[in-house]
């Protein structure tokens, strides 16, 4: 699991995308949760992506944690048997 992750001097690189900018306390809370989950310090990069419509997506290495409205709509599309 760890071998294929992109590591930097200050920790594993992670990209956090959200539909609206995260506030400082939100960023801090998210960092704490993610570092607990991955059991190491992370190099977080925050970016705004309005096409997500709402929510947050985190890319860590090849892993994607999708909590966006767009992601849920896409999942719904697949469930309804649409071509994807």
């Amino acid at each position: 699991m760890m071998g294929d992750r992109e590591a930097t001097s200050s920790g594993l690189a992670a990209r956090v995308s959200s539909a609206v900018p995260l506030k400082d306390d939100e960023q801090a809370a998210l960092r704490e949760k993610l570092e607990t989950r991955f059991r190491q310090s992370l190099e977080l990069r925050f970016e705004v992506e309005p096409s997500l419509l709402g929510g947050v997506v985190v890319h860590v290495g090849d892993q994607i944690i999708d909590g966006s409205v767009r992601g849920r709509l896409d999942a719904l599309t697949q469930t309804l048997g649409s071509k994807q």
Partner: protein, 164 residues
């Protein structure tokens, strides 16, 4: 006798002449004529018999001919009946085959139509889902206010330990 003017010698000679004539007539005329008549009768009888035989023969031939004719007619009837039967059978077979082919064709067509219908339905369903979700995305995107965004972010942060 002389008194009566009868010459005895003459009478006797006349009698002898008469008897002689009778004998001669019998020998040279009566017997041949009778024989000839017998022959004639015999010939007529023979001719009649031959004619009868010929008639019988003709009758037999006629009967034989009629029998043959009847046989030929019977044969003709039989051949016709057989031909008719064969034709009926062939017609029935052709009809049966045509019917079976038509059935197969109809079934195949129905199957094709069903497949096309399903395909069209699936296509339509995909399109509907796509349109509906695009519309949903647009509506959601427009209707999410600041408070909703914050709540979504908070939910994500709370669940990020379990998500993935």
């Amino acid at each position: 006798m002389a008194g009566l003017g009868i010459n005895l010698g003459y009478l006797i000679s006349q009698i002898i002449n008469f008897v002689l004539l009778l004998v001669l007539l019998r020998v040279f005329l009566y017997t041949p004529v009778v024989r000839m008549l017998d022959k004639r009768r015999e010939k007529i009888k023979t001719d009649l018999e031959e004619a009868e035989a010929a008639r019988s023969q003709a009758e037999a031939s006629r009967q034989e001919y009629e029998a043959q004719l009847e046989e030929a007619k019977e044969e003709r009837r039989s051949i016709l009946a057989q031909a008719r039967e064969q034709a009926d059978k062939m017609r029935e077979e052709i009809l049966e085959n045509a019917r079976a082919e038509a059935q197969v064709l109809v079934a195949k067509t129905e199957e094709d139509m069903e497949a096309l219908r399903q395909q069209a339905l699936a296509g339509a369903q995909d399109e509907i889902v796509e349109v509906a979700l695009a519309a949903a995305g647009k509506v959601v995107g427009e209707s999410l206010d600041e408070k909703a965004h914050r709540r979504l972010i908070q939910e994500f942060i709370a669940e990020v330990g379990e998500l993935g």
